[in-house]
Symmetry: C2
Subunit: 252 residues, 2 copies
Amino acid sequence: MSFLKNVSEHAFEGGIRTFLETAPALYLPGVSIDTVIFSFHNEQLKVLLLRFGNTPHFNLPGGFIKKEEHLDDAARRILQERTGLKNIYLEQFYTAGNTARSSNAVVHEVLKKFLRGLPKDHWFQQRFISVCYYALVDETKVAPKTEPFTTEFKWMDVKKIPKLLYDHNLIITKALRRLQSDLDEKLVGFNLMNETFTMGELQKLYEAVYQKKLVRTNFQRKMLSLNVLERLEKHYNGKAHKAPYLYTFKKP
Amino acid sequence: MSFLKNVSEHAFEGGIRTFLETAPALYLPGVSIDTVIFSFHNEQLKVLLLRFGNTPHFNLPGGFIKKEEHLDDAARRILQERTGLKNIYLEQFYTAGNTARSSNAVVHEVLKKFLRGLPKDHWFQQRFISVCYYALVDETKVAPKTEPFTTEFKWMDVKKIPKLLYDHNLIITKALRRLQSDLDEKLVGFNLMNETFTMGELQKLYEAVYQKKLVRTNFQRKMLSLNVLERLEKHYNGKAHKAPYLYTFKKP
């Protein structure tokens, strides 16, 4: 699904020029934020990607930290400003600090005309270290919106991510690994399942995150051992006695 | 155990002045590194703390990132320069970015005389975000050494950490939480146990990290299910037939 918006070449270039003029006084030097927003829908695990201006290139929703802003607050503000997503529980998972991460040939090509004439010591020309956050949401419950630097949104299957700007492919790989090791613990907080769900529905989520088939009996035993699920009584209605048990998350 | 060194007031102050003059050209602005080095010895979980110069205050081993240095390389270099610890596997676990973290009253008091006269926009006066790394080592296998800013080393019991400089108490709490959730996965890599060990010895490590007693049978069942342990055959020598089984880590 993509949300296309007409951003004129002029508006995009004007936006970048204004940004480059005002950013050094507003934001911390050398530190940025990137967010990996996973969605789980129709049994697929996807990542929210933004098309950068009028270029053919995609990247993660990201931005910068105001000089007097807590890091976690900046992450929430950036996500909201760039995608319209509010009240998302973001989890910090990694800080990317390789020296080569910004000096990407494609990035230079994309930004060439804006960087021409910009002093070498300009805020934007410095090396940036990026603090990365992730979340897992149901894409049908959120409505991203575009802004000047973003002409298109895409929820892309994690198995089919194209080459992104900067080191964003690596960041997605790191996020997926963290999601895999956090899933049991964060499951309830992610608020991804309906009020009630079957064990089979829950298994689909795990299979999408771990990117492999799981054995039903082992999965069920493991989930029950986490002690977060409550099994609901079946109500006999003449048809449903063969239906699978429904579960809900225990109230904390 | 503490390693006391006589650093004259003069040497310490001279070191700080030289540092404040040379640092802005050498290091990235606004980003620092802190390391939480846990040790496990005599069934105790401890953290390596450094006394800051001639002050009564302790903090974590930390430092700054050179302008052309990978973040992870900087972390290893800093740990080695400040403590002499080499070849330690460091795991990045958290980036601290609250606005209040550097503007600590005690820190200001400690540094007052050095900061007097320093321009408000000096590199050192800016807000710093800190990328944090942790490791778990056996303190008997490492020999920290002092340097100008460190007059004393202490391995302090995690249950008895005093009030530290900056937000370092919070950073230790975050590190301990991460260690707890990583321990199963990192166990082999930490290289903490002897070549062979009993299940009871391994349980002591887990109890120190989780800071609670564990049930022996449950612990044993869990560890065996991780599939990283190899049980060695008992060799009958006339006495040892009542000794517990010995285990070793499976070769990868």
